[in-house]
Symmetry: C2
Subunit: 248 residues, 2 copies
Amino acid sequence: MTYCVAMRLNEGLIFMSDTRTNAGVDNISKFRKMFTWEIPGERVITVLTAGNLATSQAVISLLDERTKVPHERRPSLLEAPTMFQIANIIGDTLKEVIKTQKMTGPESEADFGATIIVGGQINGMSSRLFLIYPEGNFIEASEETPFFQVGETKYGRPILLRAYDREMSFEEAVKLLYVSFDSTLKANLSVGMPLDLQVVEEDGLRVTHRQRVDENDPYFHTISRSWGDALKLAFQSLPDFCFGDDPA
Amino acid sequence: MTYCVAMRLNEGLIFMSDTRTNAGVDNISKFRKMFTWEIPGERVITVLTAGNLATSQAVISLLDERTKVPHERRPSLLEAPTMFQIANIIGDTLKEVIKTQKMTGPESEADFGATIIVGGQINGMSSRLFLIYPEGNFIEASEETPFFQVGETKYGRPILLRAYDREMSFEEAVKLLYVSFDSTLKANLSVGMPLDLQVVEEDGLRVTHRQRVDENDPYFHTISRSWGDALKLAFQSLPDFCFGDDPA
């Protein structure tokens, strides 16, 4: 399993992903699920992947043109004129990879599906954020749906719904993501540390901050512990219930 | 979809279930998912169901012996000597219903599955709580796993994990269940009001409180609104994050 979140803020884009992959519970590995293409000052593109790992890796390799020797690679992601076209390219690549694996392999119960979030900005345009389905089509984040989650999304969703605010600073957004990830990590063993964090400031046209958060990260520990306490306090602060004189 | 929770407390058992069922999002109905068998002073048994509605209803009807005319019904649930045997009877009935629907009907993609929670107490023994799988086998709530959820369990789970306490009063437990249900209702349209609430005090051997909570319940509204505010405050109370001098 996987958990990834990307949010649009007034200040820019923020991304977080875990790094655990598993086939069953006894076959667990660590893989990066966050990928970046960047021409500082011109464009910055961040991709988060969830789903079948072979599919995700094939898509990333194709986007990277890893079939070519390094000096001949000209990833089309770095040449596409708009973020919309970038989402299109990724969607087409994803769809193609899934189709190839399904049609040409031996029969399998796996569906090879993957879901991808892509966000970024190209010089002269504002930043955009898309969620791409295994079918290759996609939706864009909007005022009403300003963040996307993929993977094990449910445990960490209530706090995002309640506390997200477009106006929040990146620092507050990191705090929110930590809480959302902490709830998920506590509930699903197949989502695991370390976490990758990336911040892309609006009009910065480069990765502003990039961080790997591991098991020993003191701030993450503080958040995890304080959030437990804060939740209990919040819970206690709610008005008390009182049973009426209901005849049972 | 469905959301049901049952918790063991020192004071006794508490149950809550929603009432929405749906086939797709355009075919929504209301059905009770909480059922009670009671001989006041001798035994009290509460059942919560999640999954295929036809299966759940068939199981309840069989347990109730509704094939017989009313005065001939002697539900074995009311005669079984222990809660363990009651869980066994329900498990066997559930397994049988699913098997019959699968084997004798036309081929279908539906798996007719259902999961059942049963809790209660028989005079002279302490209360017990079981989770019964579609395969008919079951597990019992313990010190380590003192509550069960079925249906759409994930949105409402983090707060249960953080705030549940065996020592809590029924009043606090209602508050906790309201918060857990509120988070779920906010995130999944296929879980819906009204909610059924039932409290069975230890050694009371009858339903102590029984309540239907509808859209207009003032306490539920208060909790829903206050919880949003309390969460935001709790979130703001967390120590702030600060980006290091990480070279991006």
